[in-house]
């Protein structure tokens, strides 16, 4: 059939059931993205005869004779469309994966629709921005600052990929032309929560035309490992096999099929005959610890599981002072149990990898992951590959939020490539993200607090039970993290905590923004308000009285030497700012009517800026022949704005504009080693390495210039594009050629290490209205105050804050993964697992504390993770203030709120 795409004619025939999204991508239009493939996210939006449609739902055969416009065809005659320009000016993207579809929708709106954006944009989801910068684009706000030499630090310089993102040229994992002989991989997932595999009959699957190979547990190296990405792999249990003969959750991958097409691979999966012996399953962690509960892992010593017979991967206990004495001293004591549920990351780009063997004989893996170097290490270990023979890299990654801190999509394609010799691609469906990937760990926190009449805390005690699911990846580290920050932010002489990371027959927990701290923060920040109420103390005063000051020791319940220090302190500023903003009365008024109740709440949070385990990185910075700079670094850009900040650091040190700095990142062949981009390390470790290397290069350049010109080194300095030696100005291009002539290399490599570590602080305040009959909640005003040291790029940091807040609002009010009695997720789609859309995202105010961190690069420190933590408890506190009822289980969805307000619980 014939059709026009972006003004060009094509003749091609789609498969009968092919959707337009895939058809267009096959024609090379990679600006058409897949976020859900089901009509919910809008990432695939294109125009058919000028009308916007979700191309994943549009039958390709109907495009016959039509004119299609994709993001690549929006700009006319080299001129960006005004909407592309608006998105560029407002920098309305972070990972940028949603942007093409967002712009194709935005550019189609009538003026009337633009006046009702919540409705007009309800078919477009963005997980990164919290929609703040997208709202700005429509309002014509310019969020970029001029990129001036020497003024990089603290300036909102644009994202270096901005133009590529708004024009659809930015290349994500799948956005490369298909390789010759490419095979597609699909997996059969377990329908049972716990079962032993008795037999697998692959004959019918192999008979499906196009199926090339089938892999079962008998075809893979039987080596235990953990999917979790950490520098020190001993912190996670080795409890996983590539493919296993025991299924421990519904959704566990059982068999992999590779075929010429995705359709054939799917058909192959359907034709497999697997015989299971169903075993008893356990879903509740408390039950899993009881004697007689089904045991998930019989550890014969190799997995380092603490109590396999009780399903306990790890237990941690600690006490400082004596809580018994502390409670004896208290004038009031409060205790209750808080439930913080799962949350799926919903990075818009699903997990995916492409593996191949190149002509050089080496293996290559192009992937979407937060730690390519550790993945490489794991793959070498599993398949017995020499490190020199394997290359793992990312290009642009469409969001992560911790979801890509596990090796999930790289191993099977590599296996298939090794066995078949052909390139192999595996792309998770959105459903697989919900059934086979990780989520935030569900945690139950029992908290008990005691205080004196004046509000001074005398004792803090908790019991934390974390459901790590079928495998222990991240279970231990998130538990330890959850037992730290949320309790260390308050000074109290007596603290005690018990924590358990427990196996159950549900899908695994993983890394998720906050990394185990959000769940207990929900408990302790709620409890603090309850205790304040018992004592008749104002909740903000209660916090002021007890929160740590700049000279206090940061102490949780876990003792031991710590390299945690306070490189800067801005918690007091954050609390003041939130209090003031709430008192200002800004925001929406309470809706009219007696049924609307209003209340405000606050919560605080503290986060270690780097994990306590090993974390290292390195960077090389070079002077380019044209007088610009180039750096390499191993960290991953996942929409966190890391490469922008790194460019800015180089520019600041060198006194040039950011645009003069080019880079390459996250590539095990081309960049220095890096432990991975997670746990808010981006600024603290890799960016520190970039700073270290830049400073070293600057010194080297100045020393060389001094020598060549015969000037005293102290009289030399860098100027934009030149080195000044006394009054003599030597352009950098000249410096480069002079150095080259003398055989001097103007490049420097430096490492950085994640120690000592500093802390970041945050306070969040919200005023909301709740309808006492229906249970509806409306956020009228909200503000987050963050202490993130020197704010390297205010626009980007604001984006991280608003994105985190809105993700927190999702967790607090609407995101709910529901399991049936057999342990299967019943809502594995974006239709039924509702992340915040534009309509759910309030306008959020952001305040930056004025601090300078002694440890982080150029005074900056971490930001991304902590932003989410205080949101849910502050909303809970506001709900309590409005209704007098304490809600202890997230999410606070209308149907739950209403139930408590009517005085009965739904079944």
């Amino acid at each position: 059939m014939n059709l026009q795409v972006n003004g060009k004619s094509f003749a091609a025939t789609p498969a009968p059931g092919e959707c337009l999204r895939v058809f267009l991508r096959d024609l090379g239009w990679f600006g058409v993205k897949k976020g859900c493939d089901a009509g919910d996210c809008g990432a695939c939006t294109v125009w058919v005869n000028e009308k916007p449609v979700h191309s994943c739902l549009y039958p390709a055969f109907r495009a016959e004779g039509k004119e299609i416009t994709t993001i690549e065809g929006l700009a006319k005659g080299g001129e960006l469309h005004p909407m592309q320009r608006a998105f560029l000016d407002a920098q309305s993207f972070q990972c940028g994966y949603c942007t093409a579809g967002m712009i194709m929708t935005a550019a189609s709106l009538s003026d009337e629709q633009k006046n009702d954006l919540p409705r007009a944009l309800k078919g477009n989801l963005c997980r990164c921005t919290g929609y703040g910068s997208i709202r700005d684009a429509f309002a014509g706000v310019k969020n970029v600052a001029p990129d001036v030499a020497g003024g990089s630090r603290g300036a909102s310089v644009p994202n270096p990929f901005a133009e590529a993102i708004v024009t659809g040229r930015a290349r994500y994992t799948s956005d490369i032309p298909p390789m010759d002989g490419l095979l597609h991989l699909k997996v059969l997932r377990s329908p049972h929560a716990h079962a032993k595999i008795l037999s697998i009959d692959r004959s019918e699957a192999m008979a499906v035309p196009g199926v090339v190979e089938v892999f079962t547990w008998e075809d893979v190296p039987r080596r235990l490992y953990s999917t979790a990405i950490h520098e020190d792999n001993r912190v996670d249990p080795d409890d996983t096999y590539l493919l296993d003969n025991v299924a421990r959750f519904v959704g566990q991958r059982i068999v992999a099929v590779v075929a010429d097409t995705e359709g054939a691979a799917e058909e192959g999966c359907r034709r497999l005959k697997v015989e299971y012996e169903i075993l008893p399953a356990v879903f509740d962690p408390e039950e899993a610890m009881e004697p007689g509960a089904p045991v998930l892992h019989d550890d014969d010593g190799d997995s380092h599981i603490l109590h396999p017979e009780k399903n306990v991967f790890l237990e941690l206990h600690g006490e400082v002072g004596s809580v018994a004495d502390g409670f004896a001293e208290a004038d009031a004591i409060y205790e209750d149990t808080y439930n913080a549920p799962r949350q799926q990351h919903v990075h818009l780009e699903t997990m995916q990898s492409i593996a191949w063997r190149a002509e050089d004989g080496r293996l290559h893996v192009r992937t979407s992951v937060q730690g390519p170097f550790i993945v490489k290490g794991k793959l070498c270990y599993l398949f017995g590959i020499m490190p020199a023979d394997l290359h793992v890299f990312t290009e642009r990654v469409g969001g992560g939020f911790g979801g890509k801190q596990d090796m999930m999509s790289e191993d099977l394609p590599l296996l298939a490539t090794i066995k078949t010799g052909r390139p192999v691609k595996w792309e998770f469906t959105r459903e697989e993200q919900f059934t086979g990937a990780t989520t935030r760990h569900p945690m139950k926190t029992h908290v008990k607090l005691g205080a004196k009449k004046d509000g001074t805390l005398t004792a803090m005690q908790f019991r934390l039970v974390s459901n790590t699911g079928a495998y222990g990846n991240h279970g231990g580290e998130t538990l330890a993290n959850g037992m730290s920050g949320p309790w260390a932010i308050y000074k109290c002489p007596n603290k005690k905590g018990d924590g358990y990371a427990v196996y159950t027959n549900l899908q695994c927990g993983g890394g998720f923004r906050g990394y185990g701290t959000g769940q207990p923060t929900f408990a302790v920040e709620s409890a603090l308000d309850e205790l304040a109420a018992l004592l008749n103390v104002d909740p903000i005063e209660m916090r002021r009285k007890n929160m740590i000051g700049p000279d206090d020791k940061m102490e949780s319940v876990l003792e031991g030497a710590s390299d945690l220090t306070m490189g800067s302190y801005g918690l007091d500023q954050c609390v003041d700012a939130v209090e003031k903003a709430l008192a200002s009365g800004r925001g929406l008024p309470k809706p009219e009517g007696v049924d609307w109740l209003e209340g405000s709440g606050v919560a605080l949070s503290m986060l270690d800026c780097v994990p306590p385990t090993e974390q290292r990185s390195g960077s090389e910075v070079a002077l380019r022949p044209d007088g610009g700079y180039h750096f390499t670094v191993g960290s991953v850009e996942i929409g966190n704005g890391l490469v922008t900040a790194q460019q800015q650091v180089v520019a600041q040190v060198m006194g040039c504009p950011s645009a003069r700095v080019t880079f390459l990142n996250a590539d095990t062949d081309e960049t220095p080693y890096d432990s991975g981009t997670f746990a808010s390390v981006g600024m603290m470790v890799p960016t520190k390495a970039v700073e270290n290397a830049s400073v070293a290069l600057r010194e080297k350049m100045l020393a060389f210039a001094a020598r060549t010109t015969g000037t005293k080194p102290e009289e030399c300095r860098l100027d934009d594009g030149a080195v000044m030696c006394g009054d003599q100005r030597m352009p950098l291009a000249e410096l480069h050629s002079a150095a080259k002539r003398e055989g001097e290399e103007l490049l420097c490599f430096r490492k950085a290490y994640g120690s000592p570590r500093t802390v970041a602080f945050m306070a969040y305040g919200v005023r909301l209205a709740v309808h006492r009959v229906t249970g509806e909640i409306r956020i009228l005003f909200n503000v987050e105050a963050v202490d993130t040291g020197v704010v390297m790029n205010p626009n980007q940091v604001r984006g991280q804050v608003i994105g985190g807040v809105v993700q927190g609002i999702g967790w607090a009010l609407q995101e709910k993964m529901v399991y049936n009695a057999a342990g299967a997720v019943v809502n594995p789609t974006l239709r039924n697992y509702r992340i915040p859309a534009f309509a759910d995202a309030p306008v959020t105010e952001v305040f930056f504390a004025d601090t300078y961190d002694d440890i982080g690069p150029l005074g900056a420190k971490s930001i991304a993770e902590n932003t989410i933590n205080p949101v849910a408890p502050a909303i809970g506190n506001a709900l309590k203030a409005a209704t007098g009822v304490r809600f202890t289980t997230l999410p606070f969805s209308e149907d739950r709120i209403f139930a408590k307000l009517q005085g009965f619980e739904p079944a």
Binding site: A15, P16, G17, E18, C19, R21, D37, A38, G39, D40, G42, T45, K51, P52, H54, C56, L57, Y58, P59, F61, T105, Q113, P118, R119, L121, K122, G123, N124, T261, E262, G263, E266, E267, R270, V773, T774, G775, E776, L813, Q814, K816, V818, V826, N827, R831, N832, Y833, R834, P836, A837, A839, D840, S893, E894, D895, R896, F898, A899, Q902, P906
Partner: protein, 272 residues
């Protein structure tokens, strides 16, 4: 998404060309539901677009919508102002979880045949006392009241291969005054409760249509305006607890609670 099990697309000029219905056949309207989930039991899609049915025909007696009328066409259509309840068209379109982009393809018929509790085209056509024309694969066209079409969550009276041809909305229903109430768990999200009341002027009785809250539409007819107690009793009698929908978009208790709450509001609004 790609429907990889589809082997053939039929593009008939008349629905009579499809006589011998087979397992694995499916009518393809807008495709917005069909392409949103794997359809592993389907191998042939039969395109309704090529039938070229006229989307909307409006006359003094009422309005005739083809099943293939797109939601976008419906939304753009404005019935004469004296048909006050015609405004329900806009209300019900906006009650979709889906955005205007989906409306460019999705059809009224597809929504009705899906027979989901939160199907706003069901709410609309039941409340407006519509009649559907159905075309069986063998035999004569038949008519069924909109209120009798949906029999449960994702279940209806269609026989194997039977086609929904059109929807007739009588002018008498359109001339009524109306009240509309809807609730959802997330802003502009999926309806958890959708209630419509209509009342003939000047002294007609209340017709209350309850959808989304229940697995199938429930319609209550009153001679005049009931008292609050009569209304409650009528709902009690018509809706057993078991048919309040239980899914991730709302709990049965919440849906039940809101049904009574909004029904009372509608009673007051239309009784005033």
């Amino acid at each position: 998404m790609n429907l990889n099990t589809i082997r053939e697309i039929k593009r008939p000029r008349s629905s009579d060309e499809i006589r011998h219905w087979q397992d694995g056949y499916a009518w393809l309207a807008g495709g917005t539901w069909l392409f949103s989930e794997p359809q592993i039991h389907t191998h042939t899609l039969i395109d309704l677009e090529t039938l070229g049915w006229r989307a909307i025909a409006s006359g003094p007696g009422g309005i005739e919508f083809a099943a293939t009328c797109k939601i976008a066409e419906l939304y753009a259509f404005h019935p004469p102002a004296e048909w006050k309840a015609g405004q329900l068209i806009g209300e019900c379109c906006r009650a979709f979880l889906s955005s205007f982009k989906i409306w460019n393809e999705a059809t009224i018929g597809g929504n009705i045949v899906m027979s989901l509790p939160a199907g706003p085209m069901i709410s609309l056509t039941v409340a407006l006392e519509g009649t559907y024309t159905l075309l069986p694969r063998d035999g004569e066209a038949r008519e069924v009241r909109a209120a009798d079409f949906v029999t449960g969550n994702h279940a209806n009276v269609l026989e194997r291969g039977e086609l929904l041809r059109s929807i007739h909305i009588p002018g008498t229903a359109l001339a009524k005054s109306f009240a509309f109430r809807r609730s959802e768990l997330t802003h502009l999200g999926r309806s958890s409760v959708l209630l419509i009341g209509t009342r003939g002027e000047p002294v007609g009785g209340l017709l209350l249509t309850i959808t989304a809250a229940t697995v199938k539409p429930i319609q209550l007819t009153f001679d005049g305006i009931p008292t609050a107690a009569q209304l409650c009793n009528a709902i009690d009698a018509a809706i057993p607890e078991s048919i309040y929908l239980d899914d991730v978009h709302g709990s049965p208790a919440h849906r039940r609670h809101l049904t009574y709450h909004y029904a009372e509001q509608i009673r007051q609004e239309l009784g005033a």
